[in-house]
């Protein structure tokens, strides 16, 4: 779906970590790819292939030893207003209510109170949590907690949404429901999304392209373009084209984990 305009450019990114033997471990090596404007890109790969590291670099929480990430022509030097992250373990503040959690980033950005509440309520409604504003995270199921995590990210109205296995901690049923809802939200208000997952069906169902990373060191192994029509509904999961694409990704990952 990229209309030629590149929103995100990852340019020869290499990330090293110190290892236990006092040497260095190459988590990512020479990783290069683009994400188009309003594109939904998934990153999939065996565990340890550097998916989280890559997303943290995109988020400005980690810095590469070589190469750079460029968003809207500006090199990423830290977290930025045009990006928001949805975390795998939700990362909700347990002492704040649903509303309190969603307004949190808006408070940090000094958005005025009225505007803050308006945007928060809008985002909360969008993720289907209207009426739960005063609940605390420990009163909510995992699925509902991640809806809060998603609402919090949407409330800052980011251009680029970064998601690190956001549904990885949820049961299969809840996961598909949230995938459907994420797509609905995305259809209505398209953003550039980078979505890390280790679930092949999830990657195929959501994405325009699936980037497959190999491990040790993490490199771009292959990019699969998903030509399935949108809007994508639950039925798509039971079609032959869908199964073929998932099978394709599955075979590639098989060769990588061997």
């Amino acid at each position: 779906m990229s209309d030629g305009h590149r929103r995100v450019r990852v340019d020869s990114v290499t990330k090293l970590f110190p290892n236990a033997q006092g040497g260095t471990f190459t988590a990512l090596q020479d990783v290069t790819f683009d994400v188009g404007d309003f594109e939904f890109l998934s990153i999939i790969g065996p565990s340890g292939s550097g998916k989280t590291t890559l997303l943290r670099i995109l988020g400005g929480l980690e810095f590469p030893e070589h190469g750079a990430v460029v968003i809207d022509e500006a090199e990423v030097r830290g977290p930025g207003r045009e990006r928001a992250i949805v975390f795998q373990d939700f990362a909700l503040l347990p002492w704040r209510s649903v509303l309190g959690n969603v307004v949190f980033p808006l408070e940090l950005r000094r958005v005025a109170k009225g505007e803050r509440d308006r945007r928060a309520h809008e985002a909360i409604t969008l993720v289907g949590l209207a009426g739960f504003e005063d609940y605390y995270p420990n009163m909510l199921s995992g699925g509902m907690q991640q809806r809060v995590g998603l609402a919090r990210a949407l409330a800052v109205e980011p251009e680029v949404l970064l998601m690190d296995e956001p549904f990885g901690a949820l049961d299969a049923q809840t996961r598909t429901v949230l995938q459907d809802e994420l797509l609905q939200i995305w259809e209505r208000d398209r953003k550039t999304v980078v979505f890390v997952t280790h679930d092949m069906a999830e990657a195929v169902f959501l994405s325009d392209r699936v980037l497959i990373l190999s491990a040790n060191p993490g490199t771009v192994h292959r990019v699969v373009t998903v030509e399935l029509p949108r809007p994508r509904l639950d039925e798509l999961r039971r079609t032959a084209e869908f199964a073929d694409l998932v099978g394709d990704v599955w075979e590639t990952l098989q060769t990588l984990t061997r």
Binding site: G59, L61, G80, F87, D89, P94, W95, L108
Partner: protein
């Protein structure tokens, strides 16, 4: 209409009575420990009335002494003085302990410098230092306040340190990803996350502060409630001594449980 009013008038006292009964039975269920205390008090009263132990007054005598004490304005003034010392001393302990606890949790250097001593002093018999405090601070308010501070300081520091140390780093990262700087991370993530531990520390600090205050008054300058305890002890008026001891216990327990309740309120959500 008259009939309806009659029914109301009849049912109201009954409702009240059952409410009292519900409160009592609820209290037993919730605080079974109260039964133990009641049993001990009954045994005590029997032992006291039979004069089984030379210096053990009966509960009745202790209550009489307590009433006498409550009627004396100088006793109220002593309470005022003692509680003020405890309040000021604990406040200083909390202020200093907050700074030291937070710095120790976040700076390797500060942790290396003070960690061992804070740990040691938390369980050390600080009472041994009380006479020395008198030598340093003289015999006035400041000596007692300093005693309270030293008694209350270490628990609060250790609890603050532990609370800050255990803040989930993923929450800090989340805040940073949304643009929080150092200050915002401190005030909006670290301190709120550590708050239940700090409030628990405050409850313990108040308990130790009361302890320290009374001890200081007994050993340094014979003023306040500690002073009264010394006086009645010296005069062998055990009923008055016990009456004061009970008052101290009650006040300390009430203060501590109020603070603990506040801590629980926050902690409930943190699970």
């Amino acid at each position: 209409m008259g009939n309806v009013a009659d029914v109301d008038a009849l049912s109201r006292p009954r409702a009240r009575q059952s409410r009292v009964r519900r409160f009592v039975s609820g209290a037993w269920q919730r605080y079974p420990g109260a039964l133990v205390i009641l049993g001990l008090l009954i045994l005590w009263e029997i032992a006291g009335e039979l004069q089984l132990f030379a210096f053990l007054p009966s509960i009745r005598e202790i209550v009489d002494a307590g009433v006498t004490l409550l009627e004396r304005p100088d006793v109220w003034r002593s309470w005022g003085r003692t509680l003020l010392e405890v309040f000021v001393g604990t406040a200083i302990a909390v202020g200093l302990g907050f700074v030291l606890g937070v710095s120790m949790a976040q700076s390797r250097v500060v942790e290396a410098l003070f960690g061992l001593y804070v740990d040691l002093f938390q369980s050390a018999p600080v009472s041994a230092f009380v006479p020395v405090i008198g030598l340093v601070f003289g015999l006035g308010y400041s000596a007692i306040v300093a005693t309270v501070t030293i008694f209350a300081f270490f628990v609060f520091t250790v609890n603050t340190y532990t609370g800050v140390k255990n803040v989930d780093p993923r929450l800090i990262e989340m805040a940073r990803s949304f643009g929080a700087g150092r200050v915002a991370v401190q005030f909006r993530v670290v301190i709120p996350a550590a708050r239940p531990m700090m409030l628990t520390g405050l409850g313990l600090a108040v308990g130790r502060g009361v302890n320290g205050g009374i001890l200081g008054e007994m050993l340094i300058s014979i003023v306040g409630i500690g002073g009264l305890l010394m006086y009645y002890g010296g005069a062998f008026q055990e009923d008055f001594v016990f009456a004061l001891v009970f008052m101290v216990l009650i006040i300390a327990v009430v203060l501590m449980s109020l603070i603990q309740r506040l801590a629980d309120k926050y902690e409930e959500r943190m699970r």
